[in-house]
């Protein structure tokens, strides 16, 4: 399919899907950029900021596709929507820890590793499926993103496995982070209310199939590092795909749009 051959119902479903994926990358990239200068060592600061930059680039690609579908300029999409118009999963908007990125940040590296690793695995599954998307511009974007995503996945996997099999303190902190992320990670694994239309048009695989791939992977990974499998990933704080969000998103968006919103009409 191309832009011209989409039926209205398909187009609406495609737009929903693009918001979900664009917002996931946009918000998690923001949380990553807050870590700048605070990572465990300088080499990691370099690597992590590169990953965050790539993810911002991926969000940008999805927003451009939305722009092409008549959703307005990508910059307005990124900077001027209200929190209830965002479709990212709730766990991705959560703050990195107490404090702010400029003042007294008490950020939790275990949470960063777990959240990013879990997300990278899902993103890989999603991209594998999108390569065969019926919407050709999306399939093309996915192929572009995959070349970078492969490295992100490796990066977080190394961190995850290392810390999960190291000192008792590290294992304790990592398990606490796994438990925390598990409570809401179900929100990443869903396609939201337009799920049936999204799947029917073959934009992406069925969410149940992709979810199974993710849980299979984690049953194996957790076994490998000697941790218990916590059962079905949950969605305790609601579904971000429905526009349900926490105050953490509000705070993120007001930072992200602070300058742009002062004058969206001018050149910056």
């Amino acid at each position: 399919m191309t832009q011209e051959t989409l039926k209205p119902q398909e187009k609406a479903a495609l737009i929903e899907l693009l918001y979900q994926m664009g917002d996931d990358d946009f918000i998690l990239s923001f949380r990553g950029s807050e870590w700048l200068g605070l990572a465990p060592h300088i080499e990691e600061d370099v690597a992590f900021s590169s990953i965050s930059q790539d993810m911002m680039g991926h969000a940008n690609l999805y927003y451009r596709l939305l722009e092409d579908l008549g959703e307005g300029e990508a910059d307005r999409i990124a900077h001027l929507r209200t929190p209830d118009q965002f479709r990212n999963a709730i766990i991705l908007e959560e703050v990195n820890g107490p404090g702010t990125y400029l003042k007294e940040p008490e950020y939790d590296w275990a949470f960063a590793v777990v959240r990013n690793y879990f997300y990278a695995v899902h993103k890989q599954i999603r991209l594998d499926s999108l390569r065969h998307s019926s919407y050709e511009p999306l399939a093309e974007a996915a192929r572009k993103i995959m070349t970078e995503q492969y490295y992100h996945l490796m990066h977080w996997e190394v961190w995850f496995k290392q810390l999960m099999t190291s000192t008792d303190e590290a294992i304790g902190r990592m398990n606490a982070a796994v438990e925390k992320v598990w409570r809401d990670f179900g929100g990443v694994l869903t396609l939201g209310p337009s799920y049936a239309d999204i799947v029917k048009a073959n934009f992406i695989d069925d969410e149940a199939v992709m979810k199974k791939r993710w849980t299979n992977k984690f049953e194996a990974v957790l076994k490998e590092v000697g941790a218990a499998y916590p059962g079905e990933p949950r969605m305790e704080r609601g579904n971000g795909r429905n526009g349900v969000h926490t105050d953490d998103l509000k705070q993120a968006l007001s930072t992200l749009s602070e300058v742009y919103a002062t004058n969206p009409a001018t050149g910056w």
Partner: protein, 321 residues
Amino acid sequence: MTVGVSFNQLSEEEKMQHFLDRINAGEKIEPDDWMPEDYRLQLIRLISMHGISEIMGALPEKEWVPKAPSLHRKLAIMAKVQDEMGHGQLLLRVAEDLMAPLGKTRHDIMEDLFSGKLKFHNVFHMDAPTWGDAGIIAWLVDGAAIISQSMMLDSSYGPYARALKRICAEEVFHAQHGESIILAMAEGSPEQRQMLQDALNRWWESLIMFFGPKSAKETGNSNADKNIMYKIRTKTNEDLRQEFFTKYIPRIWSLGLTIPDDTIRFDEETQMWIYKDADWSKFKQIVSGNGPQSQNRLDLRRRSYKNNEWVREALAAKKAI
């Protein structure tokens, strides 16, 4: 030069003479080559300060990474701060090699930073309260850095010269990114132009300070002169400052901005810029950790160092297996 096996049998004076002959002939010194202790210490001082300044230098821009006012600008500033961290990493590795024979490691560099013993560049102690500051930093601070670093591209110490080659190539992109922000704001709304002018006013004295004081007399510090003798650097602080003026003052004026110094002018007779000098006692205060943001930014690094202690321990434990 044929010294070969007998080199170790030379007296200290002969080794020193041999070393000076090499650098005077334009040869590069490599990490495992013999070098006078003083040369090693000068390099450690210079390179660890440079490296840590790159790292601390990412912090004034940190605030503006998420706040950058478009997706394009967000991507560009993310790329820039990532480069700066990369420069820091590259330079600390060069410093670490030099420190190894003294039994010191990166841990010592970080400790020296936290204790205030290792200083970082004056500009990175300052406030950056608006997006205009992010533009001025990338355009003029990086522009100043290009001028002072290009001079050392031919440094007698090979690993430093090679690191600088890569760094300078990237700095050019940073300055272009800065210039592009500045141009957009200069051509924008009256509020944007005002924001830009305010940022220039805030940064001007820091930019004068960037190159350091005019001569040893003012600070009692002769490191710059020593580094010239060792061919680590080739120009004086004032040479560099004048070069900066010549390159940037006409550009600043052509944008319709005002330099906050009404005495500044080019003197045809001496072929030098006349300008109001910085307050060097203030400079001393700033680099000693008493600038407006010194302690906040050090606090960010100290805090993360402490919060991530368990990660370093976990990695060390994995290595030990």
